[in-house]
């Protein structure tokens, strides 16, 4: 079916997308909560910045990442000096690009769910002795599970499909940053490689289908005995 190289690509894609989504999750939750429940000056700006990866072509995002997180960039140079972390030409760069591209989708999904949580339940938790933070952890967050699951699915799918920012920022290096979309793109450039393209594309689709099915199972688990008194 797939060649050894192709398996390596699939494994790398899974790894990069998995790390990207897990890394983006806490930030997404924090931003979603901020946007859903807090009024502060400059909120529109924060919201706008989060949406940038959607609005700008991915190549531009990759280019901005290169400027900021490259070895000579203001953030990248410090990260490199202090922690020895590099992004360009490294799988961490692919994961960073994927996380950034997935972020707006994840924030929005979680935000929708947080906004749908009945604030009266949060009030009840407060009277029972839970502070703001505990109320968030024990009431708001668990009731936002549908949004979190949706965020994981959307984010994972988006990461799996991420191409433009990754190749511009992290380059296309076999075994390091060559994820499925990069491999597919390379094959697309060669006349007559349609079969290889289709095989890799099918692999992407299979991975995301698995994630979808897993998410449906998760949501059904989290339905809190729904189905009773349904109408």
């Amino acid at each position: 079916m797939l060649s050894g190289d192709e398996w390596q690509i699939v494994r790398l894609s899974l790894w990069v997308s998995g790390i990207a989504v897990l890394a983006a999750l806490p930030l997404s939750v924090a931003l979603a909560w901020l946007l859903a429940r807090v009024r502060f000056p400059g909120k529109a700006i924060v919201d706008g910045v989060i949406h940038l990866p959607l609005v700008l072509p991915p190549v531009v995002i990759g280019w901005l990442l290169l400027i900021a997180f490259g070895l000579n960039g203001p953030i990248g140079s410090r990260l490199h000096d202090w922690f020895g972390v590099g992004f360009v030409f490294h799988w961490t760069g692919a994961a960073l690009a994927a996380a950034i591209m997935a972020l707006p989708l994840m924030v929005r999904a979680i935000r929708l769910s947080i906004e749908a949580v009945d604030p009266r339940l949060e009030g009840a938790a407060r009277t029972l002795g839970a502070g703001r933070w505990r109320t968030f952890r024990t009431v708001t967050l668990p009731l936002s599970v549908p949004g979190i699951v949706a965020a994981l699915v959307l984010g994972f799918a988006r990461s799996l499909g991420e191409f433009g920012a990754t190749i511009t920022f992290a380059g296309n290096i076999p075994g390091e940053t060559r994820t499925l979309p990069l491999a597919i793109y390379a094959q697309l450039q060669v006349p007559g490689m349609d079969a290889a393209v289709m095989r890799l594309a099918a692999m992407s689709v299979a991975l995301s289908l698995a994630a979808l099915v897993a998410s449906e199972v998760l949501t059904r688990r989290g339905a809190f005995g729904a189905g009773a008194h349904v109408l």
Binding site: G70, G73, G171, I173, A186, Q189
Partner: protein
């Protein structure tokens, strides 16, 4: 890339009293696929001979209208601050010069600039040493950006691209014999219905157009 010079050439053609041609720029692969899918195009100007061959084989070209219009050269580039010059031959210790860095170039298996680069390095016997030190870009432009930003100490791009960027410097030109000649073929499409198409194609081969291309670094054939 062809984009700027072709835009300029089209402008000159229009100034001479013709209708402004509609230009669509994209990767050769995308354009070729659009043609095969029945896109209403008149002329195909490709940076990739393989894709021109593919379109020809699928019978989309008007016979006898294919011609190689432009040539280009392949350059080894370094960031603008790097003052070194090199001679590209078998003795160049490219791998050692790279150190931990990478050699940025377009995908050597897929994109024409990368394919030429790989062939040239192979002919010079340098390829085996650097094969696993390549940073592949999606296009020449991506490779250029890596060198511009100092992420990669060396890159291989077309001379035309190198000339257009002030952040990189040409450290060496690949010897002409180290790779197949870089050619940009053009051809009329069978489907073409525009009476102007053939005229514009002739114009692109004319001295007036050649001057424009030459200014951007292309070598008209």
């Amino acid at each position: 890339s062809l984009q700027e010079s072709l835009t300029e050439a089209a402008g000159a053609w229009a100034k001479a009293g013709h209708a402004m041609p509609v230009l669509s720029f994209g990767a050769s692969s995308a354009l070729a696929r659009q043609i095969r899918a029945g896109a209403p195009a008149d002329l195909f100007f490709s940076a990739d001979e393989d894709w021109m061959d593919a379109v020809e084989q699928s019978g989309e070209l008007r016979p006898g209208t294919r011609a190689d219009l432009l040539g280009n050269r392949l350059a080894l580039i370094v960031p603008a601050g790097d003052r070194r010059r090199f001679t590209l031959d078998r003795r160049l210790p490219l791998a050692r010069l790279l150190g931990n860095g990478r050699l940025a170039m377009a995908d050597p298996d897929a994109v024409p600039a990368g394919k030429y680069g790989k062939a040239a390095l192979a002919a010079l016997g340098l390829w085996p040493d650097v094969a696993n030190r390549i940073a592949r870009g999606e296009s020449v432009r991506t490779a250029l950006a890596f060198v511009e930003r100092g992420e990669a100490p060396f890159g291989i791009v077309y001379e035309t691209d190198a000339m257009a960027s002030s952040s990189v410097r040409v450290a060496a030109i690949f010897p002409a014999g180290s790779h197949k000649p870089i050619r940009y073929p053009v051809a009329l499409l069978k489907r073409s219905a525009s009476p102007d198409a053939a005229g514009f194609r002739r114009f692109l081969a004319s001295p007036a157009a050649s001057a424009i291309f030459r200014r951007h670094g292309f070598g008209p054939l």
